[in-house]
């Protein structure tokens, strides 16, 4: 769990991870409702007190042709009675709703793992679409796994018959049947799911009833069917966690909530300018429902207008926020420069995805670090923060707002497709525990005959923020270089040097108000440090934990503040003999750290659109220590 409340249990000392953890992967056609099934299973898992991490893995196509391999949508969940930080390497259980889902996912299933297949979908047509010559359910090709098959489609149709739905609608209840079976397998309460269905189908009670019937039928099937063998009921104890109120949260939700909390702590109104893009749109959706928190959302005509309107709102005295993903962030580049030049606060959220160009819109990557730190014309320094998990994103968003308003600067908050979509339990924070950082607008009129000095600075080098509408404080700002004192246009060489230095010093000064870099697990001076940032947190942390239990001298350092870096980071890195940096890119943090500290950091790279597996990082640790 990324809430940092976890207490290490004896089970975790096992070299191969917690015993009481299970990875389940639901896979089906995009139209089969696997994300809903996964989401509801996640909720029931959380309610049962297990720790968990999820990985929704869906296609870029909205309605890919039915039954094809590229139309397969999957949802993986790892849950257990001890700390869970990744969605799990290899599934223990694969639910395959059709041949394509089986084909795409079976290879990753653990040897001996369980396949639950909907036999009813394994007809000749679907087999052909998935590229199977023979039916894998019959030809023995799945021998290294345990296989149970039954006709989920037919069983669902039977269960919902009394509700008189059409065939298509009736079959849509398949996912609830499957969920019912899964709930039985893991000894879960159906109540919350029933409540959810009733709310979801409040306008069509017969659909609610049909889905509940399917859910109950799946559950009853587990209870009564005498197929025996691998289909057993498991009970997984709740994971140890600090007492308190918990909920599940996705990254997109927690960023939205963090932005709202941040602007409230700053005493500001929020203006959010966005343009739809995967996987960032969810933030726009969440915020557009929070009007009572002084949030105005604006779906702009393009990415540039989204950021430009946010800059305009900041000029007018709100906190401008914009959000996008790599390609959209590229379009916003020039406007970011304007915000840097005019020294206006702004938060830019980048939900990274596979790139370059359109790349892999629905897959995850952390390859926009260069873009965040360096990706603008001119010397254009900008603070950059990265979230490590859905829960962590909440605090990161508040921190981004704080830096933006206290330093009068745009700030980029990096998250990624994995964090945006994944859910994890979150200990609901006590909002009273967050210190407000109220903004004071400059409203002092200059003395008679004196000029308004819009570039007057405080001890953080932040310029004054003057709201248009304030009498006697009219002033002009713009993208052309301004005089360091008066704020009027000034092209002089000395002045440009002075302003360039000022902008750089201001942003570097952010390091004065951020925490020192800690060692996330382990200590300074180990033989090996595994340094990471962003969503690689889970697999790195688990891999380092396992390595340490084996007695290996390895520590985990996870960086939140990408720019400026924490002041002590150079010193800390110098204490390690070796450093490896696992990243879902081609070595971007590695370059930054080598450049800043001349350390011989070695990259561990994965750019496949899929998160790291724990085993991959364990292997990299072994290799680094044995090199």
């Amino acid at each position: 769990m990324a809430t940092a409340t976890h207490i290490v249990t004896p089970e975790e000392s096992e070299p191969h991870g917690p015993l009481e953890a299970v990875v389940v992967r639901f896979a089906g056609d995009s139209g089969d409702g696997m994300q809903l099934t996964g989401g509801q299973f996640t909720l029931s898992t959380a309610l049962a007190g297990n720790d968990l991490a999820t990985f929704p893995d869906f296609p870029a196509e909205i309605r890919a042709p039915q039954g094809t391999t590229f139309g397969v949508s999957a949802f993986q969940i790892n849950f257990g009675s001890s700390a869970i930080e990744t969605a799990g390497d290899a599934p223990d259980v694969l639910v395959a709703m059709n041949p394509a889902a089986l084909k795409v996912n079976v290879a990753s299933l653990k040897p001996g793992g369980l396949i639950i297949a909907d036999e009813g979908e394994f007809g000749a047509r679907n087999l052909a679409k998935a590229g199977y010559d023979a039916n894998p359910l019959d030809d023995g090709s799945l021998a290294k796994w345990q296989l149970i098959k039954f006709n989920i489609s037919q069983l669902t149709l039977d269960a919902v018959k009394p509700f008189g739905l059409g065939n298509k609608e009736a079959l849509r209840c398949k996912n609830m049947w499957t969920l019912g079976l899964a709930l039985w397998m893991f000894d879960r309460d159906r109540g919350p799911i029933e409540d959810w269905l009733k709310t979801k189908f409040a306008k069509a009670p017969e659909l609610a009833e049909a889905n509940i019937a399917a859910l109950n039928a799946g559950h009853a099937f587990g209870e009564t069917a005498e197929i025996g063998g691998p289909l057993k009921q498991h009970h997984i104890d709740p994971a140890p966690a600090e007492p308190g109120l918990y909920r599940t949260i996705t990254g997109a939700e927690s960023i939205s909530l963090g932005l709202v909390a941040g602007t409230q702590l700053a005493g500001l109104k929020m203006f959010f300018g966005g343009y739809p893009i995967t996987p960032a749109s969810a933030i726009l959706h969440h915020l557009s429902r929070l009007k009572e928190y002084d949030v105005t959302t604006f779906q702009a005509e393009d990415e540039i207008a989204a950021i430009a309107s946010a800059i305009g709102a900041s000029f007018a005295g709100s906190l401008g926020v914009t959000s996008s993903s790599g390609p959209g962030i590229a379009l916003k580049g020039e406007a970011m420069g304007l915000a840097i030049m005019t020294e206006l606060p702004l938060v830019i959220v980048n939900s990274q995805r596979g790139g370059p160009s359109t790349g892999l819109p629905t897959k995850t990557e952390q390859s926009d670090l260069y873009q965040a730190v360096y990706g603008r014309n001119g010397d254009a320094p900008m603070p950059v923060i990265s979230a490590r998990s859905p829960a962590d994103a909440f605090d990161c968003a508040i921190e981004a707002v704080r830096i933006a308003v206290q330093y009068m600067t745009p700030v980029m908050l990096l998250t990624d497709g994995y964090i945006a979509n994944a859910a994890e339990p979150w200990k609901v924070p006590d909002m009273g525990g967050y210190a407000p950082f109220p903004v004071t607008f400059h409203d002092e009129r200059p003395a008679e005959g004196e000029q308004v000095l819009a570039y007057k600075r405080d001890d953080k080098r932040a310029r004054v923020w003057i709201k248009p509408g304030s009498e006697g404080l009219m002033h002009r700002i713009g993208g052309i270089e301004k005089n360091v004192k008066t704020g009027h246009i000034d092209y002089n060489p000395d002045n440009h040097q002075a302003m360039t230095d000022m902008r750089a010093a201001k942003v570097m000064g952010v390091a004065d108000t951020i925490p020192d870099q800690d060692v996330t697990l382990g200590e300074a001076g180990s033989k090996l440090a595994v340094v990471g940032w962003g969503s690689t947190f889970g697999p790195i942390h688990q891999a380092v934990r396992r390595a340490r239990k084996q007695g290996l001298d390895v520590s985990h350092v996870h960086i939140r503040h990408i720019w400026p870096l924490p002041k002590n980071l150079g010193e800390l890195l110098a204490t390690y003999d070796r450093i490896i940096i696992p990243e879902m890119n081609n070595g971007q943090l590695k370059t930054l750290l080598r450049d800043q500290y001349l350390v011989d950091a070695k990259p561990v790279l994965k750019v496949s659109g899929q998160p790291f597996m724990i085993a991959e990082i364990e292997a990299a640790i072994d290799e680094a220590l044995n090199a």
């Binding site: 909920r247 009007k291 604006f298 430009a308 305009g312 900041s314 709100s318 002009r476 713009g478």
Partner: protein
């Protein structure tokens, strides 16, 4: 209020040295705007001038109001954020033919379509001045410029037709040096919603006299100044605009002894969009150039709709951060399960 009436053009001028080429039409527009502001009762502290990039976009630096000189083409988007964040501000957008119709065409279209309450002054000089004279999206076909030494081959955009096509509810035209410009500005200010004003502006350096065929003194007869409820007469009243019902198009008719009625001259109704469309697209041969307020038909503004919706959506909901973060299905962990 008394204090306001005392403001003069000078109160709207900054101490910054104006840096346009001597003789540039921009000076005349600046003077007209500075002169008009006090008459509008505009408060300097409530006024924001927002520009993009280009010669005209330096304009905000010379206005003693709030000002934002932004980036190329994006002024309408910045202005949208300003106005949504504080609908009480008077927002003026200063732009040019390249800024508004080329690099920023998309934003111009959307600010008009949404009907954000603002005044958009498009300085049309049919050339890129600041970058030293390349042809622009409004340059006539055949324009020779550094980037088109053999003449441009693409057909120009018509700013007012573009604005009408984008759903603008106020479209007007003026000339930099014309004495009628302040009246046009006043009408634009009085219109609640996006008010689009194309101003023919002479670039003395790169495109001198391109508008002379109707702006030169001796060609004043080619100017058709439109006035609500008045006949569309030009050339000292000797000619008028009538509708050819057969072809559904405008035609020029001669008017003798002021008897425009029998000549069938149209009376200007700025609420008539079909007419506005025909007026802005009159060919330049025998037709005059339509000037003044061509179309003025107010509709609810974007920012007022946003404010209303925000209010309605927030009504009855008390903001409570603790409740917000606790939302959704939650569960209580009572005690450490393994603590015993």
């Amino acid at each position: 209020m008394n204090e306001l009436t005392k403001l003069t053009a000078k109160d709207f001028a900054t101490d910054q040295e104006v840096r346009w080429c001597p003789g540039c039409g921009d000076y005349a527009v600046l003077k007209a705007v500075q002169r008009t502001m006090p008459e509008l009762g505009a408060k300097p502290e409530n006024t924001v001038f927002i520009s993009g990039i280009g010669c005209s976009s330096r304009f905000p630096y010379y206005m003693e109001t709030y000002g934002f000189h932004t980036i190329h083409g994006r002024a309408p988007a910045i202005a949208t954020g300003v106005k949504l964040a504080n609908p009480d501000l008077d927002v003026w957008i200063i732009t040019g033919d390249g800024d508004a119709l080329s690099i920023g065409g998309n934003h111009t279209m959307h600010v008009l379509r949404r009907n954000l309450d603002c005044q958009i002054l498009l300085f049309n000089n049919e050339i890129y001045g600041l970058t030293k004279g390349q042809y622009s999206p409004t340059s006539r076909a055949g324009t020779r410029s550094p980037s088109t030494p053999y003449g441009s081959v693409d057909r120009p955009a018509n700013p007012c037709a573009f604005a009408l096509g984008s759903g603008a509810r106020f479209v007007a035209r003026g000339i930099d040096v014309s004495k009628h410009l302040p009246d046009v500005l006043k009408a634009a200010y009085a219109h609640k919603g996006a008010a689009f004003v194309e101003i023919y502006q002479n670039c003395i350096v790169y495109n001198d006299d391109v508008f002379a065929p109707f702006t030169a003194k001796e060609n004043a007869g080619k100017q058709l100044w439109l006035k609500t409820g008045e006949p569309m007469l030009f050339d000292g009243g000797a000619k008028g605009i009538a509708l050819d019902v057969e072809t559904l198009s405008l035609r020029v008719v001669d008017v003798t002894d002021g008897d425009w009625q029998s000549a069938g001259v149209l009376v200007h109704n700025p609420q008539n969009k079909a007419l506005a469309q025909m007026l802005v697209e009159m060919p330049s041969d025998i037709f005059p150039v339509a000037l003044g307020v061509i179309f003025d038909s107010p509709a609810p503004t974007f920012e007022s709709a946003v404010v209303e919706q925000n209010k309605a959506a927030a009504a009855g909901k008390a903001p409570n951060l603790q409740a917000l973060v606790s939302k959704g299905q939650s569960w209580q962990v009572e005690k450490e399960p393994r603590a015993e």
